[in-house]
């Protein structure tokens, strides 16, 4: 295995484009090293992105959003007061990935590129409408985050392409987001179901909403049906019932060692309701 430490994304993309064998990028490493250890992947080339200047930074964009470097670990996201104030749901999703130790290494970009439908940080990014900057041999382009995952373990990035930053839009006024997941223990499990809700209020009414479901389909799902169920409502009981029904309808999960199909469908509805209420309260400013 060749271990590369490029100092620019252009160099990283060039190295990646030139490889012929198995290639992996290394950001936090919390997935790649596990796969290597298990013998699932024996990379010929490993490109460590952490030597590229700026990858460990969180910056406010000119528009008032946040640009997050690809090597910013969960523990740093969680410690960033302003970011947490704007996007608590995104951060809490990331902070649910693994243990305290894993939080010292794991990154949003890595969690996204691992391509797991159960990735805890991804529904929050979907709901937030995050934009991903991708750098390849022919330069950089911005794509909506929901265009990245292609299926379990797969992304839509082309050969030689690498995520170079993730940008969250400006939160603006009267907005709130939340992420909830279901796991059998209190910590350390992969999500059996996850749900993120981001919404904006106009008075007591939901004016805008984005709802994302995790672990109920081959990729994280952005659900328009769920969003529709609560837009224009005050999240009264009927709206919550409609939201749960919509989430159950959107969920197309499999049965596996972590949960049955039926269970995942039920819990998708439960989590959608619960996450929406938290997001609503946050938008109202009645909870953190």
């Amino acid at each position: 295995m060749r271990y590369h430490t490029p100092t620019s994304f252009a160099d990283a993309a060039a190295i990646a484009a030139a490889t012929t064998g198995t290639l992996r990028f290394l950001a936090g490493g919390t997935d790649v090293l596990v796969q290597m250890r298990a013998g699932m992947v024996q990379p010929d080339d490993l490109i460590d992105l952490k030597h590229i200047p700026g990858v460990d930074r969180i910056e406010k964009t000119a528009e008032g959003g946040w640009r997050i470097g690809i090597a910013v670990p969960g523990i740093v996201l969680g410690g960033h007061t302003e970011l947490v104030r704007d996007w608590p749901g995104v951060v809490e999703g990331m902070n649910l990935v693994g243990s305290t130790q894993v939080q010292g290494r794991a990154t949003l970009a890595g969690n996204l590129c691992n391509g797991s439908p159960a990735a805890d940080s991804v529904p929050g990014l979907f709901a937030a409408g995050a934009v991903v900057t991708v750098t390849g041999p022919n330069g950089s382009r911005d794509i909506p985050v929901e265009k990245v995952p292609a299926g379990p373990g797969k992304t839509n990035l082309a050969k030689g392409e690498v995520i170079s930053s993730i940008t969250l839009p400006p939160r603006g006024k009267n907005g709130g987001d939340a992420y909830l997941r279901f796991i059998p223990r209190t910590e350390m499990d992969i999500a059996v179901v996850g749900c993120a809700v981001s919404l904006r209020l106009d008075g007591d009414k939901v004016a805008e909403a984005r709802v994302a479901l995790g672990a109920v389909a081959p990729t994280v799902l952005l659900s328009e049906a769920c969003a529709k169920a609560i837009i224009g409502t005050t999240l009264e009981d009927a709206a919550l019932v409609a939201l749960a029904k919509a989430a159950e309808g959107e969920a197309k999960p499999i049965s596996d060692k972590r949960g049955t199909r039926e269970f995942r469908i039920d819990v998708a509805g439960v989590l959608a309701r619960r996450a929406a209420k938290i997001a609503y309260d946050r938008a109202k400013g009645t909870s953190k």
Binding site: G29, V34, R37, I75, G98, Q101, R105
Partner: protein, 162 residues
């Protein structure tokens, strides 16, 4: 396979070694530096027995390549006691917070990192911070008590010093 020359600091000592690019920091600590106090329980970041700090951040050394440690500051269980035992180490013995002792180095390193960030944690905060450190012997009860007793003593000392 070409090896990588790694220069780093472990428990304050400058060290260098040659690592296979696939070797983890845990492998390097144990097999190149003879620091076997850091344990491997799973190799997948699920048990925390390999906990160390790198530039002050708590990590699983099994989830980091040895090559990534180049130029970093690594702290392991072997560096925890200075002239005297760290209060956590002493309280773990006094409270019988270890049975087999295999998870103990990782838990001590993790608990120390917690108390440096939060000198007065609640039991729940201690439990969630240590959720990535599996212990199969104790049921965690005596571990939580030992961490809290050490924290109380450290707060007392801190006040005494101030």
């Amino acid at each position: 396979m070409r090896k990588i020359h790694v220069t780093t600091t472990v428990n304050g000592d400058p060290v260098e070694f040659l690592a296979d690019p696939r070797e983890t920091l845990l492998d390097a600590l144990r097999n190149h530096l003879d620091l076997t106090g850091t344990k491997e329980g799973c190799g997948t970041g699920d048990c925390g027995a390999c906990s160390v700090t790198v530039d002050g951040t708590l990590v699983c050394s099994c989830l980091m390549l040895a090559a990534e440690a180049n130029g970093k500051r690594v702290e392991t269980i072997e560096g925890m006691a200075k002239e005297e035992l760290h209060p956590l180490q002493r309280k773990f013995i006094e409270h019988a917070a270890l049975q087999c002792g295999f998870c103990t180095p990782g838990i001590l390193v993790a608990a120390k990192a917690l108390l440096e960030r939060n000198p007065d944690p609640t039991d729940t905060e201690v439990r969630y911070w240590l959720a990535g450190n599996l212990c199969r012997c104790t049921g965690y009860d005596k571990i939580i008590r030992a961490v809290q007793d050490a924290a109380a003593e450290m707060r007392q000392e801190h006040r005494g010093a101030a």
